[in-house]
Amino acid sequence: MAPKKDPKAAAPAKKPEPAKPAAAPAPAPEPAPAPPAAPAVDLSAVKVDFSPDQLEDYREAFGLFDRVGDSKVAYNQIADIMRALGQNPTNKEVKKILGNPSADDMANKRVDFDGFLPMLQTIVNSPNKAKFEDYVEGLRVFDKEGNGTVMGAELRIVLSTLGEKMTEQEIDALMVGQEDENGCINFEAFVKHIMSV
């Protein structure tokens, strides 16, 4: 093997990794071959720092997600709530905050509002830093013609097979009205669209 700088070692020197856990940047899909189990986030140490107005909004939103009526929400709803509240965490980040629970726990374990706040705070403290240009840069890779568009079908495959795989319905909802008559998507416009809400 040729002597070459370790890409991982070199990584921090370059663009800041959007994901916080720099320790394991390997994009391990589902059964990750045991990425060194990230130490669970100590939520008790997180200082919650929201204004009363915010707290009220959050509580209300939180309440909206309670489908049982015990003023709690399931683990698998946490990501959804955070996103509803304007954050853009990856599934992995959320799982990490939850202490990497099993699929069963995700569906069955519940958390109340007070338990939720430090989680939200953690995410708010380290937001998804990727910018418009980063996304555009990433999607440009799939621009075979070099004309600023990508095939809708290709994008579907990318989003459904790479990274944190998305479902067909999610992708459908995402791409509604984005494809032109040839099935192409102007990816700059697309990214703008996604970032508009």
Partner: protein, 964 residues
């Protein structure tokens, strides 16, 4: 099959199925799993993923989930999916055995049998017919550059041809490989292609052209009939090497061809292994010759020939008697006359018959006798020689001992040996004669040939259990060919580097092979193996063992020479060829090298009554005669040996010489290398035995070529592609707007912070050391995944917020409904409210709305009505206007008519007046006419009266006269 379907189908075997390289799907696994190859018993190599690395050991997980620890230097890197089924394996970023094997396998299973590996074109025998050799495909490859079309032997051929035309360089195409790998088939395809391409230059006006190509293609069946045989590995195995030289004139038109052959395995006509056959022609003749010809050739049944030890072994799919007719047909095309054909077949029959001559040991003497000379008689009849002379020549030949000539009785062993040697040489000479004859036909054109394409079809490197003199010859050949390849590659690489302006001292790897070649062919100081062998052949009392001893003494310190330790036999020695160590067994080498022959018999044959036989044996000077043989066994020092020495040549010498000639020819050409691979020994389609293929890749120099490749910068990416694919790694490094490819790539590479020794920037592309691209691929993958995940987070946020805002709206709506419901419940039982609800409908006010809407409706209706009327009115007005217009037009017309009428009236009046006038005139005329008529009547009357008067007067006068 329809034509379009045919084409579609062939596409599958050339281009492969859909493009998988860039699909996101393939990308995922590779980067995530850290896959590597580890050696495997069954598959050659298998893919595993790395779990843990500790020092020199690596813990890996196999496909079936089990784990295994393996040494670090045993693993080989897996190439990124971008390189899946690459057409040129030199492009692989991890150039290792496992990847090469994997790529070949993948392609083979997809029906893609041709693959490039740098300069090589590797072809795996598909063991089935593929639709990739049609006229259409030939058209497709015509004039295309190598990289423009999928790998194919046609592409190699076409490029060689174009090169020859443009550069006026002679070309050669070198096909090597194991038996059954498809060398001969590919050689045929080359000729087929050239026959089509090179004759289309000048249209059909030249009738000869068609003939030459036909003859060229028909020469093959003849050579195959005499030179091919069925072996375990191959039903139609060429038992000789050949070099076909196709000559072209200045316009690229095929003008002739010559064929050289090497190392015919002549021992095959004497004995064959089980289930193998002797040369095809023996079976063709015995099965196919009928009636008169059968008698003339004195043929017998299959089972009565001891040289056809297994009787009539059939070749699946072909009928020997049909092939016989075909072979005769081919001879006719090539202009073999009747005498020649019969002469050839007689020799074939003779060779068979020779095997039936049996010798017995005389009861009390060592001397051999022939109890039954029927077979000998047949032989002599066929060869046109005297039977007595023949038996004497065999049993008691005249031999020169010292200065005297004596008759020496032969033992049974000696006689048997002599007969076999005779049979072999006879067949060998026949084969050479055919070749000369064929060449005479193919090379008769008077037109000037300016360049040629040579096609070499020769066995590849051989490592058997037991390796003999033949293997040494063939391996020596391959050693030379590999040197040629290495040298060519060196030259080409050098040129490319120079073209791209890259500083790099490339080592000439051709030199790597020189020690081994020297070991074999060196004349002296110290003499090589072949020279030593020759030397031993002149040495009295020399044996195979003394030869090996001599070898050991001379070369014990040579780096390519060893003595195998595991073998106790004294005739063993080993040579370290580039393809691996080969243990040679020198048993019988002295005899093999001298190839001695009973010169008494050859003298007889050269004086045969048949002109054909005479011709066959005309130059017998070089034969190693009996006296040399005698010398070997007798102790007396042969005094005449020195004078005789120059007269004959050893097999080794002859071979070295012909190989030398071949190499000189090849060195003056631009070589193209084709490597044929046999995928399995069962002749089965779709099966690839990993170890078998690996062994061949090693032997045929593909792996060697790769080794050399790795020393330089084997991966080359043009700027454009480099930028497109890896710009993501240097985001922001390249400013917006235009930047030329080289500059952009330079900036990018600087940004990537690569060790400068890992790449070179040329004029049009970047050169990388092996493995660097994989690293870039991996980084690109990681980076891409990070971005995609971030984007997915963003997208999920988008979706959640959308859903949330919808939910919030729903919430607001729900609140409104709730408020109303609550209000209603509160009021429901309040009396005043109830009253209100009762009264409300009765109140005028409450009805106002209703009325309003009623009125509104009415209004609407009225409006509609009005609108309708209005439109009607408008319609009518329009009509009116139109009518008025019409009326005006009519009036005008009327006036015009009236005027015309008045005019006409006037004319009429005038005409009336005129008429009156004329009538009057008429009247007048009539009256005048009447008057005139009256006048006329009067005059008539008068005239009559006058006539009467006259008459009376005449009569009067007459009367008067009478009176007179």
């Amino acid at each position: 099959m329809s034509k379009t379907a045919d084409r579609d189908n062939s596409g599958k075997y050339l281009f492969g199925e859909s493009d998988f390289k860039n699909s996101g799907l393939a990308q995922t696994d590779w980067a995530a799993k850290k896959q590597v190859w580890i050696p495997s018993e069954k598959e050659g190599f298998e893919v595993v993923s790395i779990k843990e690395e500790t020092g020199d050991d690596v813990l890996v997980e196999l496909d079936n989930g089990s784990q295994k620890t393996i040494r670090k230097d045993e693993i080989q890197k897996v190439n990124p999916p971008k390189f899946s089924k690459v057409e040129d394996m030199a492009a692989l970023t991890f150039l290792n055995e496992a990847s090469v094997l994997h790529n070949l396998k993948e392609r083979y299973f997809s029906g893609l049998i041709y693959t490039y590996s740098g300069l090589f074109c590797v072809v795996v025998n598909p063991y089935k017919m593929l639709p990739i050799y049609s006229e259409k495909i030939i058209e497709m490859y015509k004039g295309k550059k190598r990289h423009e079309v999928p790998p194919h032997i046609y592409s190699i051929t076409d490029n060689a041809y174009r090169n020859m035309m443009q550069e006026h360089d002679d070309q050669s195409i070198l096909c090597t490989g194991e038996s059954g790998a498809g060398k001969t088939e590919n050689t045929k395809k080359v000729i087929q292609y050239l026959a089509v391409v090179a004759s289309s230059h000048k249209s059909k006006k030249d009738a000869v052209s068609g003939e030459l190509e036909k003859q060229l293609l028909q020469a093959n069946p003849i050579l195959e009939a005499f030179g091919n045989a069925k072996t375990i590995k191959n039903d139609n195995s060429s038992r000789f090497g050949k070099f076909i030289r196709l000559n072209f004139d200045i316009t690229g038109y095929l003008v002739g061809a010559t064929i050289d052959t090497y190392l015919l395995e002549k021992s095959r006509c004497v004995r064959q292994a089980k289930v193998e056959r002797s040369f095809h022609i023996f079976y063709y003749v015995v099965a196919g010759a009928k009636d008169k010809m059968r008698e003339e050739l004195l043929l017998e049944g299959f089972n009565s020939y001891s040289f056809l030890s297994a009787g009539h072994v059939q070749v699946p799919g072909t009928e020997d008697d049909e092939m016989f007719t075909e072979t005769l047909g081919a001879m006719e095309v090539l202009g073999f006359i009747e005498d020649e054909r019969i002469g050839m077949l007689k020799v074939v029959s003779t060779v068979l018959q020779l095997g039936n001559i049996e010798f017995k040991k005389d009861k009390n003497q060592e001397q051999a006798t022939i109890p039954d000379n029927t077979a000998a008689q047949k032989v002599c009849h066929l060869q046109g020689i005297n039977v007595t002379d023949f038996t004497r020549a065999i049993l008691t030949p005249r031999i020169k001992v010292g200065r005297e000539v004596v008759q020496k009785a032969q033992t049974k062993e000696q006689a048997d040996f002599a007969i076999e040697a005779l049979a072999k040489t006879m067949y060998d000479r026949l084969f050479r004669w055919i070749l000369t004859r064929v060449n005479k036909v193919l090379d008769k054109s008077k037109r000037q040939s300016v360049s040629f394409i040579g096609i070499l079809d020769i066995a590849g490197f051989e490592i058997f259990e037991d390796n003999s003199f033949e293997q040494l010859c063939i391996n020596y050949t391959n050693e030379k060919l590999q040197q040629l390849f290495n040298h060519t590659m060196f030259v080409l690489e050098q040129e490319e580097y120079k073209r791209e302006g890259i500083e790099w001292n490339f080592i000439d790897f051709g030199l790597d092979l020189q020690p081994c070649i020297d070991l074999i062919e060196r004349q002296n100081n110290p003499p090589g193996i072949l020279s030593l062998l020759d030397e031993q052949c002149w040495f009295p009392k020399a044996t195979d063992v003394s030869f090996v001893d001599k070898l050991l003494n001379t070369h014990s310190s040579h780096c390519k020479f060893t003595k195998p330790k595991q073998h106790k036999e004294k005739t063993m020695f080993s040579v370290l060829h580039y393809a691996g160590k080969v243990d040679y067994n020198a048993t019988g080498w002295l005899t093999k090298n001298m190839d001695p022959l009973n010169d008494n018999v050859t003298a007889l044959l050269s004086n045969s009554s048949s002109a054909f036989i005479q011709d066959l044996w005309k130059d017998t000077d070089h034969v190693v005669g009996l006296e040399q043989m005698t010398k070997m066994s007798e102790s007396s020092v042969a005094s005449s040996s020195k004078s005789k020495k120059g007269m004959f040549r050893t097999v080794g010498q002859l071979y070295k010489e012909s190989l030398g000639k071949l190499m000189t020819t090849l060195h003056h050409t631009t070589p193209n290398f084709v490597r044929c691979i046999i995928p399995n020994h069962e002749k089965r389609a779709g099966k690839m035995e990993a170890h078998l293929v690996l062994e061949q890749l090693r032997c045929n120099g593909v792996l060697e070529g790769i080794r050399i490749c790795r020393q330089g910068f084997p991966n080359r990416v043009v700027f454009q592609e480099f930028r497109q694919r890896y710009e993501i790694l240097a985001a922001g490094a390249i400013p917006k707007g235009f930047m030329d490819g080289k500059q952009a790539s330079t900036v990018m590479i600087k940004h990537l912070d690569l060790d400068p020794n890992l790449y070179r920037i040329g004029q049009s592309k970047i050169f990388f050391r092996t493995g660097v691209l994989a690293q870039l691929e991996e980084e690109r993958d990681l980076k891409l995944t990070v971005i995609i995940i971030a984007f997915q987070g963003r997208a999920q946020g988008f979706l959640s917020r959308k859903a949330f805002s919808k939910r919030q709206q729903q919430l607001t709506a729900m609140k409104v409904i709730q408020r109303n419901c609550a209000a209603y419940l509160k009021l429901k039982n309040w009396q005043w409210w109830r009253l209100f609800t009762k009264v409300k409908p009765l109140l005028q006010v409450t009805r106002q709305e209703e009325e309003m809407s009623q009125k509104e409706e009415e209004l609407q209706k009225a409006k509609e009505l009005a609108q309708k009327s209005e439109t009607q009115l408008k319609e009518i007005t329009d009509k009116h206007a139109k009518l008025l217009e019409e009326r005006d037009k009519l009036q005008e017309k009327l006036q015009a008519e009236a005027e015309m009428f008045a005019e006409a009236e006037e004319i009429r009046v005038r005409l009336e007046a005129k008429k009156q006038e004329l009538e009057e005139v008429l009247h007048e005329m009539e009256t005048r006419l009447e008057e005139e008529e009256e006048h006329a009547q009067n005059f008539q009357q008068e005239k009559r009266n006058m006539e009467q008067q006259l008459k009376s007067m005449i009569s009067d006068l007459e009367g008067l006269n009478c009176y007179r």
